[in-house]
C-alpha cells in the first residue's frame, strides 16, 4: 500500500521531475542487512530523492566482489573494506575512498574457552576459521605480527576457509572463527553459547584493525564535475540516512527487513545488528580520518607475504579524497 501511494505521488508530481533525477547505482559488499542500513534508510525516507538522486542499491553476496562489479561498469559507487580497495588499486583498478561511514571495525576472532585459547600466545596448534574473498588481509597481518606461521604444524595455526556462517565453531571443527560483532557473534549467542564460554579478540584492540565499510569510486570518474556533484549529494544523503538509522534503530531495522527481497532476514536479528552497527558508525561524520588510512596502510605493509598479498608498497597518491565530503558536509 505504501509503495502504491509513493507510486501515485510520483505520478502526480509529473514525470518531468522523476526523469531529471540523476541515477546512481550502489553495489553493496554483502546481502541486504543492517550493515547497510544508512543507504536503505536514505532510500526509503526519501533523502536521496531530496537530493534529486535516483539510487539503485544492489545487494552483494558470497560470490560478488564489489571491486569487480565497479570495474565492469555495473556500479557507480561501492562499499568495501579498505584493505580490499587498496589491493584492487595496486592491481590497476584505481579506487578512491570518498567517504568512510564506519569509524571503527567489527571484525573479531571468537574462540571457545574449552579449546584452551586464552590469549594470542595460545594460537599455535589450533585451527582457526578465516573468511577469504578479500576479507583475509587483517588475519594474515595479525599472524605476521605475532610471528605465527599459517601452514599448520606445532608452532603454527591451521587455517580453514570458513564459509559465511558459524557452523565450524558449533561443530567443533575450528577452535576459533571469524565473526562480525554485528552479525555472526549474535548468531553464536543465538546458538546457545553464552558469552562467558567464549574468548573474543577484536582486531582493532590487537592493533591490526583496518577500516571497514567505506564508499569507493573510480578515480577517472571523479574528474568529471557532474559525477563528483552526484557523489556529493549521494554522500550527504547517505550520511543523513546513517545518522537517522543510529537514532532510530528499530525503524531502520524494519526498513532493512522490508527492503530485503530474499525475505531471509528476521527483524530481531536486524535490530541486534543495527544496535551493533550504530556503535561502529557513531564516531564518523562521513569524512575519512587520514590517520585511520595511514594506520590501515601501515598494518598491511607490516605484513607483506605471499599469504597476504594485499599491497606491497605505499598506495599511489589519491587513494582517498576529502573533495566529496568537504562539500557534502558543509
Amino acid at each position: 500500500m505504501k509503495k502504491l501511494l509513493i507510486g501515485a505521488l510520483a505520478l502526480g508530481m509529473g514525470t518531468g521531475a522523476a526523469q531529471a533525477a540523476d541515477e546512481v547505482t550502489l553495489q553493496l559488499k554483502w546481502v541486504t542487512q543492517a550493515q547497510f542500513a544508512g543507504y536503505y534508510v536514505a532510500l526509503e525516507k526519501g533523502f536521496y530523492e531530496e537530493e534529486d538522486l535516483d539510487v539503485t542499491i544492489k545487494p552483494g553476496g558470497p560470490d560478488i566482489a564489489p571491486e569487480q562489479v565497479i570495474a565492469g561498469g555495473g556500479a557507480d559507487v561501492i562499499t568495501t573494506w579498505m584493505a580490499a580497495a587498496l589491493a584492487a588499486r595496486e592491481r590497476g583498478l584505481p579506487l578512491v575512498n570518498i567517504a568512510q561511514p564506519f569509524k571503527s571495525g567489527g571484525l573479531q576472532l571468537t574462540c571457545l574457552k574449552e579449546s584452551g585459547v586464552e590469549s594470542p600466545e595460545d594460537f599455535p596448534g589450533h585451527t582457526l576459521g578465516v573468511w577469504f574473498f578479500g576479507n583475509e588481509y587483517p588475519f594474515y597481518a595479525w599472524m605476521a605480527k605475532l610471528g605465527v606461521p599459517t601452514e599448520g604444524g606445532e608452532d603454527g595455526v591451521e587455517v580453514l576457509k570458513q564459509a559465511f556462517n558459524v557452523d565450524p565453531l558449533l561443530n567443533k571443527q575450528a577452535d576459533c572463527i571469524s565473526v562480525m560483532t554485528y552479525n555472526e557473534y549474535g548468531q553464536v549467542l543465538d546458538a546457545g553459547i553464552s558469552p562467558d564460554e567464549l574468548v573474543t579478540f577484536n582486531y582493532l584492540e590487537e592493533g591490526v584493525g583496518m577500516m571497514e565499510d567505506g564508499l569507493y569510486v573510480l578515480e577517472e570518474n571523479l574528474d568529471d564535475p557532474e559525477f563528483a556533484d552526484k557523489m556529493v549529494r549521494f554522500v550527504r544523503a547517505s550520511m543523513k540516512g546513517w545518522k537517522y538509522a543510529e537514532e532510530n534503530p528499530e525503524e531502520a531495522a524494519e526498513i532493512v527487513v522490508d527492503s530485503d527481497e530474499t525475505g531471509a532476514q528476521t527483524l530481531d536479528h536486524q535490530i541486534y545488528m543495527m544496535g551493533e552497527v550504530a556503535k561502529l558508525t557513531a564516531g564518523s561524520d562521513g569524512a575519512l580520518d587520514p590517520a585511520d588510512f595511514d594506520q590501515t596502510v601501515a598494518t598491511l605493509l607490516s605484513a607483506v607475504s605471499p599469504d597476504n598479498p594485499a599491497i606491497t608498497e605505499e598506495p599511489s597518491e589519491g587513494a582517498w579524497t576529502h573533495a566529496i565530503t568537504d562539500e557534502a558536509l558543509q
Partner: protein, 281 residues
C-alpha cells in the same frame, strides 16, 4: 588501434590457412587433422592477446594470455599442490568410490527386482539434489579437508553411473541369454562372460561423463569451506583479491586435468571394448 587491426589480420590469415588445409587433398591425413585445431587455438590466443592489449581491457576483467602464462609459470608449485588436493585427493578418490558403489548397486538392482523398484527412485532423488545444497551439509559431516570433497563427488557421479550400468546390463537379447543357458551357465558365469562385457560400452559412457562431473564437484565443494589449498579455494579466493590471472591459471589446470582424465578413460575403453562398432576406425 594498430593492435586491434592486427588482431583482425591474424583472424583473416588464420582462417585462410585453415580453410586451405581443409580443402587440400591431404585433409584427412594425420598432419592436417592436427594442424587445423592447433592453428585455430593459436589464432584465438593471439587475437585475445592483441584485443586485450589494444583495447586496454582492465586486467581485472580479462587478463591477457601472456600474463596468465607468466603467472602459471611462476606458481607451478602452488598449482601442483592445488591439483593434488582437489583433483587427485578429492576428485579421483570420490570418483573411484562413487563409480564402484554405483556398479555394485546396479548389479544388486539387476539381481533383485525388489531393489529395482526401491533403489532406482532413490538414485533419481540423489541426482536431483543441487550441489550447492549438499556440499555445505557434507562439509559439516566429513570436515573441511578432501574427504568432504570426495563425498560430494560420490554423490555427483553415482547416478549417471548407476543408470548407465543398469541400462547396460539389460542390453543382451533373450536369444543370447538362452544360448548361455543351453551351455548350462549359472548366473555368475553368464554375468561375467556375457552381460558385463555387453554392458561395457554403457559403463564407459558413465565413466566418461563422471570424469568431468568429478572435477566440477571437487572444485565447487571447496567453495563451502576448505583448508587453504585446492583449486576451488584458490579460484574463489583470488577472485576476491582480483587476482584474475591466477584464476585463469587454475582454469587452465582444470582444463588440462579434465582432458587428461577423460582421455585416460577413453583409452582404457578402447582396449576393453575393442569389439564394439564405435571403436572401429
Amino acid at each position: 588501434m594498430e593492435l586491434v587491426i592486427l588482431a583482425f589480420v591474424v583472424w583473416a590469415a588464420g582462417t585462410f590457412v585453415a580453410v586451405q588445409i581443409a580443402r587440400s587433398p591431404g585433409h584427412d591425413a594425420m598432419p592436417a587433422r592436427i594442424a587445423v585445431p592447433v592453428i585455430f587455438g593459436i589464432m584465438v590466443l593471439a587475437m585475445w592477446e592483441l584485443l586485450v592489449t589494444g583495447l586496454n581491457v582492465s586486467q581485472v576483467i580479462l587478463p591477457a594470455p601472456s600474463v596468465i602464462a607468466s603467472t602459471f609459470a611462476r606458481s607451478t608449485s602452488t598449482l601442483w599442490g592445488d591439483f593434488l588436493q582437489t583433483a587427485l585427493k578429492g576428485g579421483v578418490s570420490g570418483y573411484l568410490i562413487g563409480c564402484s558403489a554405483a556398479v555394485a548397486a546396479a548389479l544388486a538392482i539387476d539381481r533383485v527386482p525388489f531393489l529395482q523398484r526401491g533403489l532406482l527412485p532413490i538414485g533419481n532423488f540423489v541426482a536431483a539434489l543441487p550441489i550447492v545444497g549438499i556440499a555445505p551439509i557434507l562439509v559439516g559431516w566429513f570436515g573441511f579437508d578432501w574427504q568432504s570433497k570426495a563425498a560430494v563427488v560420490v554423490v555427483m557421479v553415482f547416478f549417471p553411473m548407476l543408470v548407465n550400468t543398469v541400462q547396460g546390463l539389460a542390453d543382451t537379447t533373450a536369444m543370447q541369454r538362452d544360448l548361455m543357458k543351453t551351455y548350462s551357465a549359472g548366473y555368475w558365469q553368464s554375468l561375467l562372460k556375457l552381460r558385463l562385457p555387453a554392458a561395457m560400452p554403457f559403463i564407459f559412457n558413465g565413466l566418461k561423463i563422471s570424469t568431468t562431473l568429478a572435477l566440477i564437484g571437487a572444485i565447487v565443494a571447496e567453495y563451502f569451506g576448505s583448508p587453504t589449498r585446492g583449486m576451488g579455494f584458490r579460484i574463489s579466493t583470488e577472485v576476491g583479491r582480483l587476482g584474475l590471472d591466477m584464476v585463469w591459471a587454475e582454469i587452465t589446470v582444470a582444463a588440462i586435468a579434465g582432458s587428461v582424465f577423460y582421455g585416460l578413460v577413453a583409452l582404457i575403453e578402447r582396449g576393453v571394448t575393442f569389439w564394439h562398432p564405435s571403436q572401429r576406425s
